[in-house]
Amino acid sequence: MKARVHITPKAGVLDPQGKAIQHALAALGFAGIDTVRQGKVIELDLADTDPGRARTRLDEMCRRLLANTVIEDYRIELPA
């Protein structure tokens, strides 16, 4: 099963990359871009077949390694 984990900077945490992209886009002439945030996406190929169990495991992976919850939120995406 293919899963995706989205990791984004928490609200209130500085996102220098996002800010730089926003600035660069404006300088390239792309108008009307309000905010830009940059995050990570991690795609995993899991042996699991049960989506519920996969989600539990992914949640644990996020808390233990993939995300730093001091600064990041995460969101797990499983095939519907």
Binding site: L14, P16, V70
Partner: protein
């Protein structure tokens, strides 16, 4: 003083800090491979600079789970002094031994240069040979040294005198211009509550030798030797 330097795959300042510590101690520290799970009897554990596991995912994130880390955490809780320099600081935050996190530099580029630090608390085993408010010159070399913590954490750090060093002008003024990476409150290094753990982004081991231009960094190691011997 018995000191050990943990070597992770990708550490690259392990030798540098061993040399600087050796100058202060009069003999070299022991080098400890990350893959072992037991520590010898130590008074000081050093997590050196470098790129443990390539800094992939987040700097320090993978190293914080290395086989040796449970022993490091246990020793830290038992009061053994722990010093994390640069990547070592990142590992300490990822391992939960120090609060906050180190984000990508605000300028987004790697920055390697001498900076000035104001000593904020000289009443600790790490800093006792400095004076309060003394300005020292030490190099930084990092891509992710932008210290962040939420407001409550930051307030607690200030209240408990846990800020060790702040980036400052040569005259001691703490200004935005003197901040190389965007760190909150110009924080360059912090202690845990008990002042038994220090994490800092600058590299004291790189200016701990007159041939390299300064010994400002040596006094950090000398302080530890003076306290722990």
């Amino acid at each position: 003083m018995r000191a050990g330097v943990i070597v992770f795959p990708g550490s690259n300042c392990d030798r540098d800090v061993a040399v600087a510590l050796g100058r202060s101690m009069g003999r070299p520290p022991v080098m400890i491979w990350h893959g072992t799970s037991a520590l010898p009897d130590l008074d000081l554990i050093v997590l050196p600079g470098g790129f443990a596991y390539g800094d992939y995912l987040r700097p320090g994130a993978i190293a914080a789970h290395a086989p040796i880390m449970p022993a490091v955490v246990a020793a830290a809780h038992a009061g053994v002094r722990v010093l994390g320099i640069c990547n070592g600081f990142q590992i300490l935050t990822e391992a939960g031994l120090l609060p906050g996190a180190l984000l990508r530099n605000a300028g987004l580029r790697f920055v390697c240069r001498d900076i000035h630090l104001r000593v904020e608390n000289s009443y600790t085993p790490f800093t006792q040979l400095y004076e309060d408010d003394e300005v020292i010159r030490i190099p930084v070399a990092h891509h992710d040294g932008n210290y962040f913590a939420d407001n409550a954490t930051l307030a607690a750090l200030e209240d408990n005198d846990q800020v060790a060093f702040r980036y400052c002008e040569p005259g001691g003024e703490v200004s935005a211009a003197a901040n190389p990476n965007g760190s909150l409150a110009n924080i360059a290094g912090i202690f845990n509550r008990d002042k038994t753990i220090l994490g800092l982004m600058p590299h004291p081991e790189r200016l701990a030798d007159p041939a390299l231009g300064s010994e400002d960094g040596s006094r950090l190691f000398d302080s530890l030797v003076a306290t722990l011997s």
